[in-house]
Amino acid sequence: MGAFHSNPAEQTYRDLAEKTGFSVEQIWILHNRFKQLSHDEEMLRRDDFKAIPDLACNPIRSQIIEAFFDQRNFQTNSDGTAHEIGFEEFLTVMSYFRPPSLNMTQEEKEDLRRAKLRFLFNMHDTDNDGTITLEEYRHVVEELLSRSGAIGQETAKGITDAAMLEVASTSVGHMGPDDVYEGITFEHFLKVCHPFPAVKGKLQLILTAFVHTLFPHYRPRLYIGYTGVHWA
């Protein structure tokens, strides 16, 4: 591991590594990215996210940005939204996207998976009442179709209705004519998401940032490959 001098920064990194499950090197890379996005300030704001050029064409951009400021995702048992976030919160949100490490037990993997699905659920459940109602789901579909103009509006309704019906049918099974299905709770959400092979494997990102492309002047070059840390 060579040239890292022991300094307070490294200690913080180690603490963060313990907390979020990233490796120290990955945290270092993400911190650099954080500093780049926030223009070297301590806190990151929504405008900083909106300034990312590639994110502009993403149809669910606003929901992604909101997810970073949603206090439910900070694992601090608090609610509401923050105006600005620090690096620790940024890292916490990013930690939902790391793959399960090889030395995790089955239970830890289950917990991680549950946490990821909870993150996804929180993205849909904007009013934080614990259920995804028809309106919220419709909002999701509308966002997905937001690039298709007028057709999107009408069809979104139909698609949402059909989707909700499906979830209700699979999770609840039998309902009388007077019962009202309030919305998708987290348990139903788990049930619905469970058989999808796409969802199971998908919610992870393998961080392989080539640092020297971001910071060409930095020496020595450090990059994290798939198999660990290497010095170049």
Binding site: L144, M175, Y181
Partner: protein
Amino acid sequence: MTSRAMTLAGLFLLLLTPGTGGSQVPGTDGAGDHGGPHGLDGHGANATNKAFPVLSFDYKHVQMPFEISLWVLLASLMKLGFHLIPRLSSIVPESCLLIVVGLLVGGLIRVVGEDPPILGSQLFFLCLLPPIILDAGYFLPIRPFTENVGTILMFAVVGTLWNAFFVGGLLYGVCQLEGTHLGRVDLMACLLFGSIISAVDPVAVLAVFEEIHINELLHILVFGESLLNDAVTVVLYHLFEEFAAAGGVTIKDVFLGIVCFLVVALGGILVGAIYGVLAAFTSRFTSHTRVIEPLFVFLYSYMAYLSAEVFHLSGIMALIACGAVMRPYVEANISHKSHTTIKYFLKMWSSVSETLIFIFLGVSTVAGQHHWNWTFVICTVILCLVARVLGVVGLTFMINKFRIVKLTTKDQFIIAYGGLRGAIAFSLGYLLDKVHFPMRDMFLTAIITVIFFTVFVQGMTIRPLVDLLAVKKKQETKRSINEEIHTQFLDHLLTGIEDICGHYGHHHWKDKLNRFNKKYVKKCLIAGERSKEPQLIAFYHKMEMKQAIELVESGGGVKIPSAMPSTVSMQNIQPKKPTERALPQLSKSREEEIRKILRTNLQKTRQRLRSYNRHTLVADPYEDGWNDMFLKRRRVMELGKKISELNNYLTVPAPAPDSPTMARARLASEFQPLYIKPKSDSIPTIQVDLASPQSPDSVNMVDEFNKPSKPTEAEEEEGLMMKAPSSSADQKERKRDKEDGVEQQRLARCLSDPGPSAEDDEDEPFLP
């Protein structure tokens, strides 16, 4: 059935033998019946007046097509026969049975004294192989393929290279041993043999794997490998052939070989992609000539294959690329019937091809001259197995570091065991020049032995092994709208997170490609409005269409779009609106009665297999006979009459003529399944909601209500519908309901079913 078919075939074949004698009927010039009058004229001068030939026998001029047809007929009858024998098809894979039949037929021909035909490379590569590959390429499941493309390429390229060199090298070592009398076989020839025998064969893999229904991942891995290793095989084959003829190998040649590989693979894909784009572009203009649409698909693909073969590029990869590239655009452009035609023709041709290939393999075994050398053959078989196992294990070890979903030991075993060899190896061996390769017969014998071993032993035992090891089977779930929504959402989410990280990963590039596709490519290649339709909407329409047709077929019963019958309905989902007026309450018993009647007509959603299994062509709702629909309609009418006693009515909005897309969008927004809404007076309201294609024949249903005296007529015209005799008291309420119906967005449509005859002019292109 088989024995009868065999005797029939045998009889036909016996008829063939005197056929070579040609026509020996007196009085003709050898031109058959048509020659009769001339014959008479010509021989007019002769003393003897020959009789007018009423019946003559001239086989020669139809011999070629006759024999081809006979072979195809035989193959089809065999296929038929196997499935009539109940237990046989579950124990023995079809490929084995067909080879056995081929052996028998070959033996029969030999006994008769004729020379049995050999599976010629020309016939094989130009006629029999392309349909199978096109079928595979056109229906290739793109998403799992692209997700695993790295793994597939590793197996295809590195795995095949490893196999070739391992087998070839060790065989050379074996040949050099003193006791084997194989000293003549030099290194190049061994390596060439290794390269021929090392490639996993798509035909054999398809034939066996389709019957065992393993999970999608393993299927796409082995199958994808068998398709993509063609490039490697082609290059190695030509390379070693050249080297063997030339003699020496230099470093420059090795380097050129690598370059050649890249050219062959990428060139093949490029050729295929060009033809695919051409086909997509052509299909944009076919709205007036629907009938020949399938022809364009087939012709362009075949041209891609042949063009690639001209330059010795990989024809298989060209074909796959062509099919995969053209499919999304062509399917958006062509009519629903053309889509069905393409699917069925491809399945039919590939099925026949596969059958013929295996039969011919059997025949060729009997026909060929063999040179059996115990050492060589046994060593080949053993080395092939060992090479395969070692290759798979080693590669998986390396690949698992990069994969999110790792490959387990069970997966590795199936991948290794599924490496079947087939007719491609045989044909390549057959192509060898006898002059340069005097040991060609020995090679052919060894190749055939390996093929027999893999197809018979591995093919027959893989199914019990899969069961024994409890390998995950294919999940028979229908792709649901929720899954589609989530998949798309996740794609965008992961792309967004990648952008935030500043890391250009897999999702970033995929997203860029999709955007490029949407912005430029779709506009060029898809006609009209459909180019703008986003994927989610297209998927939803497709799902809707299927459900609508299922609804008709289920006899008008309750149709809820879920896998399980449940009593959840739309009203449970919709939030209670304050504007809901007081509705007539239905007595509980009556409601129960109605529900019971409707539920007895409920049919479960058919489980759809998500693959292109050739043997059990998926029962597509599009395909079911219209005749069945007429019968069901009659049943529905009876049901309707029964229910009409309970005073039901239907609220329908006025259909408005507009573009297909808007019609579809409207359908989408109004599509709601059947439900029962309690009413305040004893009128149970059953609103049947059926998505329907907007056709010019649909009648304005609102008007229909003002003519209550003709319910049956409207039913005849409009198909599924339940009419109610209206009473004056209901009229007002109904009118009010109609307006409210529009407001509450509980709209319904009738399924217009003008029947097959009326469909000739209406050929609305349905989205697939």
